[in-house]
Amino acid sequence: MERFYTFIFAAGLGCFALAFVLSLVFPVISLGKYEAMEFRDLEDLAAVPKAEFVELAARYPEAFESAFGTRTATPAAYAEALQLGRDIYVGQGCWHCHSQFVRPTSNEAQRFGPVSVAQEYNNALNLPHIWGTRRVGPDLIRTHGKHTNDWHIAHFMNPKNIVPSSVMPSYKYYFEEDGTPRKNGFSLVAYIQWLGTAYEDLPESVKQENEQ
């Protein structure tokens, strides 16, 4: 028993494969049976730009044009902004202090909004998912519509001005001094304002069942 091949095949490959089937293949099969579980690609997510993004374009037409090459909030510009915003969110480690799922416990539904469902994460902006494991700041998956664009820009520039006890770093390098966003700033705000819309877009039946 205590030989080379036992450890390679039984322990190394065998046990690993067993775990792979039980904790990965099984959930994938189960999740696949959920209602409204179709994968949404970036084009689909950005097909109808959200009001917050349209407002950004209207508010800062020149800066918007120099960032995205258009004065109107087109789906193409929205797709670009969402992907870039997510890249910054990931690259700056935002997800190490903000989670992106609401649990059905600890009064979280009262604090943040509807409990998370698997369907809202099955899209291109969750490759890989960014659920996070720590909440220095609050959960962000229900952010859409909670605050205005102005609130977010002011908050990104100096979080302490809005939330006095905040320990969040300032991201003022993504904005001009007067608060006009640069390309990264537009994208970051667009992405943050997008969080939660994947849930809103789900069929009513799925939402009702979840919120009962």
């Binding site: 205590e2 030989r3 080379f4 091949y5 450890f7 390679i8 039984a10 322990a11 190394g12 490959l13 046990c15 690993f16 067993l18 775990a19 792979f20 039980l22 904790s23 990965l24 959930p27 994938v28 189960s30 999740l31 992907q83 997510r86 890249d87 990931v90 690259g91 700056q92 480690g93 935002c94 997800w95 190490h96 989670s99 649990r103 416990t105 600890s106 009064n107 009262q110 604090r111 998370s116 469902v117 698997a118 994460y121 099955n122 969750n126 490759l127 890989p128 998912h129 659920w131 494991t133 720590r134 909440r135 220095v136 609050p138 939330v163 006890s165 770093p169 300032s170 003022k172 390098y173």
Partner: protein, 494 residues
């Protein structure tokens, strides 16, 4: 040439083979490779700990590089965790394997040239990851932030593909160490080699799974199940087997008595191999991952605690009758301090994995304390102990300063106990305040004093480490020769 003695006595205890042992006219062990990896490991640990300390200042409002996008606090956190994993732990464990594997099998590793290649591949991985973090190219996988080199979900290159390099590095390690392991396949393997063999297979598999599936194939909840497994397997299927492997080698060797029970080692190994990979999903409990998968992870995590108890009992029973070694031998002190903390962390784990605890402690500082206890208090302690024991033997110089050795140990031990307790309490309060719907401002105000204590204990680690590094350098430069302890010199060497 000194004759090769069988590495194991019939009672399953490693013997210290003479340092000039040869095989086919070449030295059995390549000491310069061990030295190179130890030096790299120590430097990256310093970088990692400095980064950790700087990051903790962000929470106190004193982070010095707040105006820089490149040196932002988020980037510094990536550096802290990734330098620990790939800079410190991998280099440290590879150094140990270079010492242990040839001695246990009686065969040299595949090649010194390959050794040089492995060394540079791993340093390139660490440095390229560092550059990638500064360039905003980190990947959204905890402990696997090493850049994929492609824009997320696409194949447009944006940086050096570090993930790919890690897999290459892991495969090279397999080639390097499986050569002697394969040549010794006729022998009965000693416990250490069980862990090393399986651990090397697991490293490559874990990395492939964790960095490709959630990045390109499975989004959302299924991806979370994968990254949960990745976080857990990197600790459980690479760091833990390597750590226990070196404990099973060095503890009996230093104490000069065999491990108390062979059967318990068998149980320990196979239960780790069976249960550990099944634990992964417990990193995302009460989440959109299906409940039955979470139950499975919870039950197997509690099962792990039973296994851990058998292993810890085995080691303490081995120490019985040699308690004085805790006073006289620094390595044994590091090892057993680590073993006690291992037991505490795993016991904590058996509770915190339940939904009852998860409701409160998940998302809080409790988890941060837990992670520091296991990575610093256990595995870093074991590597410190091993380096403390090895350094005089590979440089053939006496330790420069006994006092600095003591300072290093006590600063680290007291530091980790303070940090663990502090963060555990902070986490509990945070959890209950979150449940009690207290405003987020109040939660932050409550945490600040705890974060001050956390930074203070972190400063203790860094100070201890500086004592250690200074001592390492001065020892290597000293003229006082080290003479092997008499009882460790094998009879055949005379």
């Amino acid at each position: 040439m000194t004759a090769l003695t069988p590495a194991l006595t019939p009672t399953l205890m490693p013997t210290l083979m003479p340092t000039d042992a040869e095989r086919d006219g070449k030295p059995l062990v390549s000491y310069w490779l061990i030295k190179a990896h130890i030096v790299a490991a120590a430097l990256f640990l310093l970088l990692s700990m400095t980064a950790g300390f700087l990051y903790s200042l962000q929470f106190l409002g004193y982070y010095p590089f707040g105006d820089s996008e490149v040196l932002s606090a988020g980037h510094i956190r990536f550096i802290h965790t990734n330098m620990t994993a790939y800079g410190w732990l991998v280099n440290g464990f590879v150094a140990m394997m270079y010492y242990v594997v040839p001695r246990l099998t009686g065969f040299r590793v595949c090649g010194e040239g390959l050794g040089k290649l492995i060394f540079w591949v791993w340093q390139l991985i660490v440095v390229a990851a560092l550059g990638g973090f500064f360039m905003n190219c980190a990947q959204a996988i905890e402990w696997g932030e090493t850049p994929t080199g492609f824009r997320p979900g696409t194949f447009e290159p944006n940086w050096i593909p570090v993930d790919l390099l890690v897999v290459v590095g892991a495969v090279l390690l397999v080639v390097q160490f499986f050569t002697p392991l394969y040549k010794a396949r006729g022998q009965k393997y000693y416990v250490t080699l069980w862990y090393f063999t399986a651990g090397l297979v697991w490293l490559a598999l874990t990395y492939l799974m964790g960095n490709i599936i959630p990045e390109w194939i499975l989004p959302g909840a299924a991806g979370a199940a994968t990254t949960g497994m990745f976080i857990h397997d990197l600790v459980g299927l690479f760091v833990t087997p390597m750590g226990w492997g070196l404990m099973y080698f060095f503890v009996p060797l230093i104490l000069q008595k065999p491990i108390w029970s062979h059967s318990l080692s068998v149980i320990g190994f196979w239960a780790l191999a069976f249960f550990y990979p099944l634990n992964g999903v417990h990193h995302f409990l009460i989440s959109p991952i299906p409940d039955y998968v979470e139950y499975g992870a919870i039950i197997t995590t509690i099962a792990i605690e039973v296994v851990v108890t058998t292993v810890v009992v085995n080691f303490f029973a081995t120490l019985r009758g040699k308690w004085s070694a805790l006073r006289t031998n620094w390595a044994i002190r590091w090892y057993y301090a680590g073993a006690i903390m291992y037991f505490i962390t795993c016991l904590q784990c058996a509770f915190q994995v339940t939904w009852m605890f998860q409701k409160i402690i998940h998302f809080t500082d409790w988890v941060v304390g837990h992670a520091h206890m296991i990575m610093f208090g256990v595995f870093t302690f074991w590597l410190f102990g091993t380096i403390d024991w090895l350094w005089p033997r590979i440089t053939r110089r006496k330790w420069h300063s006994e006092k600095l050795r003591a300072w290093h140990f006590w600063l680290s031990t007291i530091g980790i106990v303070i940090m663990f307790t502090d963060l555990m309490i902070a986490g509990l309060i945070h959890g209950f305040m979150q449940k009690g719907l207290n405003p987020w401002n109040d939660i932050l105000d409550m945490s600040v004093p705890f974060w001050w204590i956390r930074s203070f204990s972190g400063a203790m680690f860094v100070t201890g480490l500086l004592c250690f590094l200074y001592n390492l350098v001065m020892t290597a430069r000293s003229n006082e020769l080290y003479v092997e302890e008499e009882h460790l010199v094998p009879a055949t060497a005379e």
